[in-house]
């Protein structure tokens, strides 16, 4: 028995060394992988779910339409410089977009889901309904009849080859070409609006120039196949050009869920949770040492082993850590000592009946095992249900993160209590310390 125990002890030390080498350094991974994976709420970023309007799509075509939408969104995301964007189909008509670690403006966010990025407008007559209003007047969408249907002029008819350039006066221009249908539309509209302004709008707002004034060029001649937009800043023109070249969406999208976290906020959270975790661990350790003495010290060593192993598993699986997930981990530290407490209490009872330390350890573990097993199964049931809940809803990350970290935490805590603490305790059997049962917290004047 003692020899086998020494072997297990060495094995535990090896696992511990491996776990530590996996965990450290926290922000780097093993074998070139990334470090600890942080969720949106910890590293900042965007989590959005779009719902596509498929009501006008032929039955059977839905899947390919959604695929097209995803491709366009992905093209529009690329210029933003996100390292690991996630674009996923959810259910029949939903698209999940996750952009970790970035902070983009609302305007850039809106552009991702707009069907046609730019719309063109003409001045509305007094009695007509206006779609836009600004200092230049009241505007309605510029429309013309093509192929027997009245259509609005938008950037949906741009070819995907817009580019930014300078005219001979050094002004920035965004050059575009109309596609076949667009050029007929443009011909009809610009022909009708000679010497009148053509407004350019993005969503509800006018497109603003370098001087913060709305861009609304006066039409001097009929525009058929190509045109240009003047007055934009260089940055604005080049960003717009990239988005325009990403293509247009075949259907309209509605944002049904949006969570945006500033990356600055996340770093605060990590710091605060680490602090909470450390203070929690220290309190738990103090309590264990004061109450269970030598056994408590062993439980603390087991707890350090526990923490390293759990973090190593988080990194290897990998588990995406969210604030709730960290909460689950911190909570599991408190619960991890539970199995130890169960065993130590049992050991104390056995020691009180006058058994030797060796016998008390074995009896304590054997008797405590059914309680540890049956009570942790209920926690596993709850973790499973939480995981299902997380996977079935849109705001999934916190719930799933918590379920996963708590599950891993409780499972590892069973292992550490039953294998690690027992091995540590057995090392003392037969030693001189074993005879001083007071070290194992048995009050001589006890009940």
């Amino acid at each position: 028995m003692p020899r086998r125990n020494t072997l297990v002890f060495i094995l535990i030390l090896i696992i511990f060394a491996l776990a530590v080498s996996v965990v450290l350094p926290i922000d780097e991974g093993i074998l070139g992988e990334k470090g600890m994976r942080m969720g949106l709420d910890l590293q900042g970023g965007i989590h959005m779910v779009y719902q596509a309007d498929l009501s006008r799509i032929e039955p059977g075509e839905e899947a390919s339409v959604i695929e097209g939408v995803m491709l366009v969104i992905s093209n529009r995301i690329n210029p933003l410089g996100v390292t690991e964007p996630v674009i996923q189909k959810q259910g029949q008509d939903r698209i999940l977009v996750e952009l970790p670690g970035i902070d983009i403006t609302d305007k850039e966010k809106e552009r991702l889901s707009r069907v046609a990025i730019l719309e063109f407008g003409e001045l509305a007559a007094d009695e007509e309904e206006a779609k836009w209003e600004n200092e230049l007047g009241r505007w309605k969408p510029a429309m013309a009849v093509v192929d027997g249907r009245e259509k609005e002029l938008t950037s949906a008819y741009f070819k995907e080859n817009t580019y930014v350039s300078q005219d001979n006066l050094g002004r920035i221009i965004l050059a575009f070409e109309w596609d076949e249908e667009g050029s007929r539309l443009s011909e009809a509209i610009t022909g009708r609006l000679i010497n009148q302004p053509l407004g350019i709008f993005e969503g509800d707002a006018p497109l603003l120039g370098d001087d913060d004034l709305p861009i609304a060029p006066i039409i001097r001649s009929v525009i058929t196949d190509r045109g240009q937009i003047e007055g934009l800043s260089y940055d604005e023109a080049s960003s717009l050009s990239k988005q325009l070249n990403a293509g247009r969406l075949p259907v309209s999208l509605e944002i049904i869920y949006d969570q945006t976290v500033s990356p600055l906020l996340g770093t605060d959270f990590i710091e605060m949770s680490v602090k909470a975790g450390l203070i929690g661990i220290i309190l738990v350790m103090l309590f264990m040492v004061i109450y269970y003495r030598l056994s408590g010290v062993l439980a603390c060593l087991a707890l350090i082993f526990y923490g390293s192993l759990v973090l190593a598993i988080f990194k290897l699986v990998p588990v995406t850590l969210t604030l709730a997930g960290l909460g689950g981990f911190v909570l599991s530290i408190g619960m991890a000592v539970d199995a130890n407490v169960l065993i130590f209490e049992r050991m104390k009872e056995e020691l009180r009946t006058g058994r030797t330390l060796g016998a008390a350890i074995e009896a304590g573990f054997n008797r405590a095992w059914t309680a540890i097993r049956d009570s942790n199964v209920t926690t596993f049931i709850v973790c499973g249900i939480l995981y299902w809940l997380g996977s079935s809803i849109v705001a999934s990350a916190p719930v799933m993160g918590f379920a996963l970290t708590l599950f891993i935490g409780v499972a590892v805590s069973m292992f550490t209590a039953i294998v690690v603490t027992r091995t540590f305790l057995r090392l003392f059997v037969g030693s001189r310390l074993a005879r001083k049962t007071s070290l194992f917290s048995v009050y001589s004047g006890g009940k």
Partner: protein
Amino acid sequence: MFDIVGKRFWFFLISGAVILIGIISLAVFGLKTGIEFSSGSLMTVSFEQEVSQDELRQELASLGYTNVIIQRTGQGDFFVRTQELSPEDKTELETALAARFGTLEEREFNSVSPMIATETANNAAIAVAVAAIGILLYITWAFRRMPRPFHYGACAIIALIHDALIALGVFAILGAVFGWEINLMFITGILAVIGYSVNNTVVVFDRIRENLARGVSSNFEVVVNNSLVGTLGRSLNTSLTTLFVVVALLLFVGMTIQNFAVVLLVGIVAGTFSSLCIAPTLLVVWEKREWGRFIQWLPLSALKTRGE
């Protein structure tokens, strides 16, 4: 040796009173639900210059946002909850606020549509129900060799409902006083509490199982009391260590998972009480079929306390 089981009617009285207060609070104040369950937008903003909550409220009202909830965090950020904002509405709102109060930083924005909110609320309710049924079945199975295993499952579930009701009652009061909301983290916390509370209950039941097998006494009440006293140290110590980490979470992580930490705090206290004083004693009451005695005891106890 302590006689815990013998004071069972007192425990029922205490729990009943606390739950009654909780139910009355629920009926009077109701629960405030967060945007995850009732849709809307929640924005966390901070201003460079000093802005008071009233100024912000007035400005929002003048912009047409009358039905807003504003909360100030410890760090001077504001939580602003409105109806669901489209990206355009949001840009407009932020521009207007910046014009009035100077530079602002948007730290977090969360928006949930009514459809998503309904889905989330439904699934959360299903999760809580499935968890309760799953635990009932599991405990009935785990104690299948005992006479009347269903009693064990049912008593554990009653203890669990007891804890959930207390947590809900506390949140009804916190909602009325501080405007706290029930959100997804609350539900996660409730489920964690359910798992935790039953965990404790099972440890006590396990000892009852063992002591019955060892034939400690032919009197079920004595067996249960012995088991309770035997596991008392473990139950209290585990609760304490868990409370340490929950308090650390509450103090150092702050607002964002405040709801979660407080549910855990309330749940662990209620759960420790219920797993020691309610679930096992209910088992005794059920075994002895003394429901009638409890009803008779109630007015007596009132007289007794008055007499003392």
